[in-house]
C-alpha cells in the first residue's frame, strides 16, 4: 500500500485552477522531489496534503485512510510533518523548547498538562540537538539563530515530531552553497526510513538527493521519472526554456 495517494485532486481559488486532476502516489520509504516553475502548484499541493487548504475535488489517502476532510492538526497527529518555505520556528522560545514542543506524544491537553517527560524523552531532545548541530545553542532564543541554523532547527522539530511522511518545502532557500550541501547530507541521514516529499529549485541540491522526480506545470502532472529521464524529457526542457526560470 502506498503511504500517500491522491486521486484526481483539484483545487480552485476564485476560478483560478491551482491544481487539476492530480494523481500522485508515494511509496513507503520513498524520497520524491517535486519540480516545476513558479505557479506550477507545488506549494498548493503540499498545502492540500498537510490540511492547510481543502481541495475542491478529489481524494487524499494517507496509509489507506481518507484524510481529505481532516484539519491540519488531525493530519499531523497521523504522522505527516511539514517544513514550510523559509524558517518558521517559534522565535521567542529557546532552541530546546522548540524541539520540546514538537515532541510526539503530547498532543492531547491532558498529556500536555500531566504527562511528565521521562529520561528517554530528554535524551531524545538532546540527541536531536546533536544531530542538527545546535547542542551548544540549546538555551538561545530561536530568533537569535542564523538563517541556516533556523532551517536546521526546523528539521530538528520535524525529527521530534517523528512523522512517517516528511514534507520539505524548499529546505535550502537562502542558504549558502556549503549550508545547502550540509542540509542535503542531513536530510539523507536523519530522515532515513521515512517517506519524503521535497520541493526544491536548487538543481545541485536536487542532484545530490533525488532518486525519483515529479514535474508539475500549471497545476498539472507533466512528467515523472529518474532525474536523468526528467532532464532529457522534451516537454520539461520546453517549459523550462520557455519560461526561462530556474535550473
Amino acid at each position: 500500500m502506498p503511504i500517500l495517494k491522491t486521486e484526481n485532486l483539484s483545487v480552485e481559488f476564485n476560478g483560478f485552477k491551482a491544481l487539476t486532476d492530480l494523481n500522485f502516489t508515494l511509496e513507503k520509504d520513498e524520497l520524491r522531489v517535486i519540480l516545476g516553475p513558479n505557479g506550477a502548484g507545488k506549494t498548493t499541493f503540499l498545502d492540500l496534503i498537510s490540511g492547510k487548504t481543502k481541495p475542491t475535488a478529489g481524494k487524499i489517502y494517507f496509509n489507506g485512510e481518507d484524510i481529505t476532510s481532516y484539519g491540519a492538526s488531525q493530519i499531523a497527529q497521523r504522522g505527516v510533518g511539514r517544513k514550510f518555505q523559509g524558517p518558521n520556528v517559534f522565535a521567542n522560545l529557546t532552541v530546546y523548547e522548540n524541539i520540546e514542543v514538537s515532541l510526539k506524544g503530547y498532543h492531547r491537553i491532558a498529556q500536555s498538562l500531566f504527562k511528565k517527560k521521562d529520561k528517554a524523552a530528554m535524551e531524545k531532545i538532546h540527541h536531536i540537538l546533536e544531530q542538527i548541530g545546535l547542542s551548544q545553542k540549546s538555551q538561545h532564543l530561536a530568533y537569535t539563530l542564523s538563517h541556516g541554523e533556523k532551517q536546521w532547527l526546523e528539521m530538528g522539530m520535524l525529527l521530534a515530531q517523528d512523522p512517517t511522511l516528511v514534507i520539505l518545502d524548499e529546505p535550502t532557500t537562502g542558504m549558502t552553497a556549503s549550508e545547502t550541501y550540509k542540509t542535503g547530507e542531513l536530510i539523507q541521514t536523519i530522515f532515513k526510513g521515512k517517506s519524503l516529499i521535497v520541493v526544491e529549485h536548487d538543481m545541485s541540491f536536487v542532484r545530490q538527493i533525488a532518486k525519483k522526480v515529479t514535474v508539475l506545470h500549471q497545476g498539472r502532472h507533466l512528467a515523472e521519472g529518474t532525474l536523468q529521464e526528467i532532464e532529457n524529457n522534451a516537454k520539461v526542457q520546453e517549459i523550462y526554456l520557455k519560461e526561462d526560470v530556474h535550473a
Partner: protein
Amino acid sequence: MRKFLLSSEKLIGVPLVLFLFCVPLFFNAFQVNLMGKFIIFALLAISLDLVWGYAGLLSIGHAVFFGLGGYIIALSYTFQNGTPSFMKRFGIEEIPVFMQPLTNIPTAFILGLIIPAVVAALVGFFILKSRVTGVYFSLITLIMAALFQMIVINLQAYTGGFNGLMGLPRLPLFGKPFSLTTFYYIVLFVTIAVYFFAKALTRSHFGKVLMSIRENEERTGFLGYDVSNYKIVIFTISGLIAGLAGMLYVSMNGFVGPSDVGIALSMSVILWVAIGGRGTLMGAVVGAIGINYLSNSLSESFPEIWYLLVGIVMVLVVMFLPDGVYGSFKKWLESRNASA
C-alpha cells in the same frame, strides 16, 4: 566568574512579598485595605497574563469574569438578612428561585469560581472554535464587557443596578467575617498560591504549547496540536482565577458596582500587564501593584494633575520599555548574567 546569579523573579519577588507581609505591621487600616485591593488586582492581572501574555489572546473583557465572581458573592452576602431592600422596591418579596443557591455563602463561593469559568468556556468555545482570532477576538470580548455592564445596570431588581451592592462583609465563610488583618493575609496567601500555580502551568508542556500558539499559531497546528482547544482551556482557567479575584475584591472593598465589571477596569488590567511586562507573570504583579500604588500616592500629593502624571509614566514605558518595566529588567539581567 560570579557564582550567585539571581533570577529577576527572586530579585523582585522576594522583597515585594516581604514588604507585603509587613504592611499590616506598619500601616493603618485604610492603607492595609488599599494594599489588599492592589494584591487582588495583581491576581486579576495574573489571570489576564495567562491568556494574553502566554497564549496571545488579548481579552478586553476580563472584568466580566471578575465582576461575575464579585456579584455572585456580593448577592450572597446581601441575602443573609432575607430579601434585600433593592429587590423589595421592585415588588420582589422572595429571593428568586434561580438565586436561591446563593443564600448559602460557601455554595455561593464555589459558584463564584464555577460560573465565571463556565462563561469563559462558553464564550471561548463559540469565539475560538469559529476560528476568530486576533483583533476580532479582542473586539468580541470588548463588546461582552460593555454588554455585561449594561445588564448589571439595567437588571436593577436583581443586581442593585447603578447603586451597586453596599455594606459587604469580609468573606464570612464560617459564619463570622474575617478581621481586616486576617483577610489581608488570606488574600496574600491565595495570590501567592495562584502565582505558583500559574507558574507551574506555564512551565508545563501545556504552557509551552500556549507560547507556541502565541508565536505562530499555524505552525503549532501543523505539529498536531488542536490550537483552539488549548486556547479554550486557558481562557477557562483564566476566567476562574478572575472570578476568584472578583470575590476577594468585593469582600475587601465592601462594595461592588457596575464600574467593577466593565470596560474601564478591563482596560486598566491590560495597562497593568503591558506596563509590568506581559508573558512573565511577575510583570503582571509588578504592573498591577506598581501602577495602583503610584496612582494612589500621586493622587494624594498632586490631586489636580495626578492622572496626567500617571499617563506620562505610561507613555514613557510604552515608548522606551516595550517589554514593560519588569520585562525589560528581566532581559537586561539575563543578558548581563549570560556575559558574566
